[in-house]
Amino acid sequence: MNEWAAIWVNLILILAVLFAFSAMLSWIERRLLGLWQDRYGPNRVGPFGVLQIVADSIKLLTKEDWIPPFADRAVFVLAPAIVAVTTLLAFAVVPIAPGIGVVDLNIGLLFFLAMSSLGVYSIVLGGWASNNKYSLLGGFRAAAQMLSYEVFMGLALMGVVMLAGSFNLRDIVAAQENLWFCIPQILGLATFAVAGIAEARRLPFDLPESENELVAGFHTEYSSMKFGMFFIGEYVGITLISAMIVTLFFGGWLGPLLPPLVWFLLKTFIVIVCFILLRAALPRPRYDQLMTYGWKVMLPVTLVNLLITGAVVLSAA
């Protein structure tokens, strides 16, 4: 009974913190972008504009929830739910601190990859079901981009798996006791970070919704909370990728002095801020540049990394 209560408290707290943080992230992002671009950003609602997210969610919830008559109704409604469900499910395997985490799965890393590969459907189906040429183009781009970047996303992590000898994320964190994997796996870290941004569809890889040519890409026809679902899905996605980078390459909860939970949150927050800085700093590439970069630069780099790591592991054994 006590054990079950602990599991439920764990689960509900993680979910609540995750949602609150993802919602706050939209405010943090806008304030930071403002700071870097020498302007204020949202600063009117509440102290420092903290309550901006409350105003935004009231606006989203009270907007008319409109399904266009030419859309494929069932798929149109289903699509935004998929991204929210898959990113939240993927969070289940993230080891936050010793004793904090939803599930300790033997194939945790593969589960994360599986959920992130299912998340593509949300974008692709949303674009298709809208039955609108801009949305369809956004859907095409999403399908091609995410398929290409998924290939080396998985391969980039295999170096970590080789060094840790396990797919279990808690074992992977424990294996970084002496040395964080960001040093021996620097190539893996670089390629995984790029693939992660592409999977989260963040600038510079937000081609599926590039608003200057496709209106808003795959979510052009979405309004109210269905749009809100894509929106929340994106921010949970950023948090998820950052948490995975911290878990796999920066030693997860490991660190001196401070308690493990604080270390994990601190590291994750720093990675998220780096993602936001990338958005402020980089322009969007052309679509063919994106594909060429994925297949001709990133994939060979991950293969070389895999080859070197394999050789080192074999010679050390």
Partner: protein, 188 residues
């Protein structure tokens, strides 16, 4: 565990039936994805978590995305769905139904025979006797006794890769220096 096995089994069969009977290609594909996910859960329950994860990553997450991609490219509208519905007339079902019913009867007969054997051997059903096989054992099996199969599969993939590269090369040339002569030849 047994309940999850049977539940996901029923879901897999039902979803597969829906795949065959849908008129809209994208709806059929969505049911196929559900069916693959159900099969992944069956693998997981049977004690093969590695295969279950690969089923989701490769089949549901990559191969099916390609299918959806191609069907989106074709942009089949309402007309295609109407035509598909005409093809699915009741008369169409007679032949395939009889044949697959025969196969089903055969399968059930074999299964009933086997279940008795398994129960004799393990003192339980096939589900409860399955030990968990982790990724390491799968790897050892693949690069041990099944090495030839792995090599053959990689040869097949290499052939596909070379073929795709060949096709891609020519489309690239069309935009390059040979553009005029090539498109002229195609027209004549």
């Amino acid at each position: 565990m047994e309940a999850t096995f049977y539940l996901s089994g029923v879901i897999a069969v039902a979803a597969t039936l829906m795949v065959i009977t849908r008129a809209s290609a994208v709806h059929a594909l969505l049911y196929l994805i559900v069916s693959l996910l159900a099969v992944a859960i069956i693998f997981f329950v049977l004690g093969a978590p590695f295969v279950a994860a690969l089923e989701v990553i490769i089949y549901a997450g990559a191969v099916m995305v390609l299918f959806v991609f191609v069907i989106m490219m074709l942009n089949l509208g309402k007309a295609a769905a109407v035509k598909e519905r005409e093809w699915l007339s009741p008369g169409m079902w007679v032949g395939p139904s009889i044949l697959s019913a025969l196969l089903l009867a055969e399968l059930i007969y074999i299964l009933v025979q086997n279940v008795q054997d398994v129960q004799g051997a393990y003192g339980g059903t096939a589900i409860s006797s399955g030990a968990v096989i982790d990724s390491k054992e799968v790897g050892i099996a693949l690069f041990g006794p099944y090495l030839l199969g792995v090599e053959l599969a990689s040869l097949l993939l290499l052939a596909g890769l070379v073929g795709a590269c060949h096709l891609g090369w020519h489309t690239e040339l069309r935009f390059g220096s040979h553009s005029a002569s090539r498109s002229d030849r195609a027209r004549s």
